[in-house]
């Protein structure tokens, strides 16, 4: 049986239930998304875009879904004691795909800011959400996006009105929580109007030792002169599968920093598509992956320079140990007329063992003649001379390797524009390399 069939059947049978527990704005594009999904199916390795990860196969096993929106008992404050505490953020939780509205404190947000459950905000502000929902995530082009749009019932939304600056970083913790093998289809909508500023940290955690599959579609509309940081931190476990499609549209002179960090995972596919629609827009797209055992991390990025005078800086680094597999494909398109484009792409990777594999594919398509574009990709091992130099100074080979690996990914951490998070990540990454990260309390991997 094709992996798609069970979900085609499921939607046909449960469409009413799915819609009943969602909002009209989210239901509206469902029929088209379903038609697109039926046509596209799950991606397979035959598609260039998905050649390094067999998405179709990952959807084959049986997962439970919570279409009927049963309340899942969990106290996120209990779960979330481990990793990025005391960072002085406005803290929110999404359990599976549902916004947790029993927050202990209601952080003060500037007037006009909307933050919370996508479903509820869609009911309260249908016209606003309708204007943005589904506008960047094209279901006709990607099977995962079509699938997510078909099944997504809720998630998170952040709306920052014109000129409003949110000083305090917002932290959103996604918690995967279930007693059986479980699938989550989560949706995040971000709107920053002209001149708005916000910083969002999204952490993914898996609480239970079952198989999880999550799909996530994030749409971020960034207005003129707006400044937005999005940090994504995945700390799940080896039985988790994650598909995340992030779509960003930037208007003139906006400045966006995206940094996706995979510290612990099973199989992860992150697709990031950034469209630079207004002159003078700048995107800094970074990511890193630390993977061992049989973990797989695949980052697929696409930056579309639609107009002139935009800047894109891309930096991805991977450290692969054991039998881990990494993939990076980065396409930069400079459209005709996008003169004075400044684009730089770097992907550097370390394979610590002979069994670790890295696939890297830089791709530049340039149709303008007055541009500055560069790219570089390397796959290598730790510097033997540096290792020996450190050993001569009395540092054990093990410790020397850790220092070098740590130094290697530091460059990505240093792009973070939040000092507290930067410090925290230095610590987290060090713990990760020392194998101490999974000793925290509460997460499934500790058990």
């Amino acid at each position: 049986m094709r992996a798609e069939q069970q979900y085609i059947d499921l939607f046909s049978q449960c469409e009413a239930m799915i819609c009943k527990h969602s909002a009209e704005v989210l239901n509206a594009p469902r029929a088209q998304a379903f038609a697109d999904f039926e046509r596209l199916g799950f991606p397979t390795r035959k598609q260039e875009k998905y050649k390094y990860i067999d998405a179709s196969k990952l959807f084959e096993p049986d997962y439970g879904l919570n279409l009927n929106r049963l309340d899942i008992p969990v106290n996120p404050y209990e779960v979330f004691k481990c990793d990025v505490p005391n960072m002085s953020t406005s803290l929110y939780f999404v359990v599976n795909d549902a916004f947790y509205n029993k927050s202990l404190t209601k952080p003060q947000l500037p007037e006009g800011v909307l933050l919370g459950s996508l479903k509820e905000l869609s009911e309260q502000h249908p016209a606003l959400v309708k204007k943005y929902y589904g506008k960047l995530a094209d279901t006709a082009k990607d099977g995962i996006t079509a699938f997510n749009t078909t099944f997504a019932q809720d998630g998170f939304m952040l709306y920052v009105p014109k000129g409003v600056v949110i000083d305090k970083p917002i932290q959103l913790v996604n918690i995967l929580r279930a007693d059986v093998n479980f699938m989550v289809n989560r949706r995040i909508l971000i709107v920053l109007e002209d001149g708005a500023q916000a910083r969002l940290l999204v952490c993914d955690h898996a609480m239970d030792n079952v198989n999880f599959l999550s799909t996530q579609v994030i749409e971020a509309h960034i207005g003129e002169n707006a400044v937005f940081d999005l940090y994504e931190l995945e700390e799940t476990h080896t039985s988790s599968v994650r598909f995340s499609n992030l779509y960003v549209n930037q208007e003139a002179n906006s400045n966006v920093l995206l940094n996706g960090m995979t510290l612990h995972n099973g199989t992860t596919r992150n697709t990031t598509e950034v469209t630079l629609s207004g002159r003078g827009a700048e995107i800094n797209l970074c990511g890193m992956a630390i993977a061992d055992k049989n973990e797989q991390v695949d980052n697929h990025t696409f930056i579309d320079h639609k107009v002139s005078d935009c800047t894109s800086n891309e930096l991805f680094k991977y450290v692969l140990d054991d039998q881990a597999i990494g993939a990076f494909a980065g396409k930069v398109l400079v459209r005709p007329g996008a003169q004075h484009t400044n684009s730089q792409q770097t992907n550097r990777n370390l394979c610590a063992t002979r069994d670790a594999h890295m696939y890297t594919q830089p791709q530049l398509e340039i149709y303008a003649d007055d541009v500055k574009c560069s790219h570089g990709a390397t796959v290598g091992q730790l510097d033997e001379n540096a290792l020996f130099y450190m050993q001569q100074r009395g540092i054990s080979l093990h410790e020397a390797r850790l220092l070098l690996m740590f130094a290697f990914v530091n460059e990505v951490i240093d792009t973070i524009r939040l000092e507290a998070l930067k410090d925290r990540l230095h610590l987290l990454v060090e713990k990760r390399f020392r194998g101490e990260l999974n000793k925290c309390r509460g997460c499934a991997m500790c058990k």
């Binding site: 510097d383 001379n385 540096a386 020996f388 130099y389 450190m390 050993q391 001569q392 100074r393 009395g394 540092i395 054990s396 080979l397 410790e399 220092l403 070098l404 740590f406 130094a407 290697f408 530091n410 460059e411």
Partner: protein, 250 residues
């Protein structure tokens, strides 16, 4: 302190050291000179355990221990230090983190508690003064972007931090201008105690004007072919190596 007996070593199957015998006592300074390609750097590499070289025969004892059986890091913990001819740049690893790891691993080996952050920084400050190393350099990545002279000074700074029993200076004078040479040599002399020994590998007499050797050896084709007092270095400076080759019948 160090006793080398009939040491043979090779790289990629090619024999470089062909039977070295050398004894170094506590407090002594030995100079090893010799033409290019005679095996001087190979000897220092083998002593500190560089895995690129294979010891095929012979023995080395250091402080009564079988040196060749120890890992490179334990050789360091036992008090062996090499000032590299070409110090390695390590981007992303700060000098502070690097030295803290080195000092604390040595302390662990000796059964001592790690230094606190303030103790460590105080030690760094003290030892930096020995070679007039700029604070800015101490905050940078290891050797990254350092000039030739700064790298060599940094080597002696590390030596000061680790307080080795036996230091090997492998062409520490190469790439140094007169002032840097003086600072480096003075640094080495300040660190010298009656308890510590030193092997100075060099091509030139000029370093030996500052660091006075007790004994001078000439290494040629993987063997020590001549050993004498400090006057030998002066003679080599004047006459070159041809007369030694002639003595050997070449």
């Amino acid at each position: 302190m160090l006793e080398i007996k009939d040491l043979h070593a090779s790289i990629n199957g090619k024999e470089i050291l062909k039977g070295i015998n050398l004894n170094i006592k506590k407090g002594e300074v030995h100079a090893i000179m010799g033409p290019n390609g005679s095996g001087k750097s190979t000897l220092s590499s083998v002593l500190v355990g560089n895995p690129a070289f294979e010891v095929t025969k012979g023995s080395v004892t250091f402080g009564g221990k079988d040196l060749l059986a120890l890992s490179p890091e334990d050789r360091s913990h036992e008090g062996l230090f090499l000032s590299f001819q070409y110090p390695v740049e390590i981007p992303g690893v700060s000098m502070v983190n690097f030295m803290r790891a080195a000092v604390n691993e040595k302390r662990k080996y000796e059964g001592l508690a790690p230094l606190t952050a303030s103790e460590f920084l105080k030690l760094m400050r003290e030892k930096r003064a020995v070679v007039e190393l700029d604070n800015k350099l101490a905050n940078r990545s290891v050797n990254e972007g350092f000039s030739g002279g700064e790298k060599k000074r940094n080597e002696i700074f590390q030596m000061a931090m680790l307080e080795p029993k036996l230091s090997i200076l492998d062409e520490t004078d190469s790439g140094l201008d007169i002032d840097a040479l003086r600072i480096v040599a003075e640094g080495v002399n300040k660190l010298k105690t009656p308890e510590t020994s030193c092997i100075v590998i060099t091509h030139y007499q000029r370093l030996l004007d500052y660091i006075k050797p007790d004994i001078v050896h000439v290494l040629y084709k993987g063997r020590i072919v001549k050993t004498a007092g400090p006057e030998l270095a002066l003679e080599l400076e004047k006459r070159g190596y041809d007369w030694i080759k002639a003595e050997l019948g070449e």
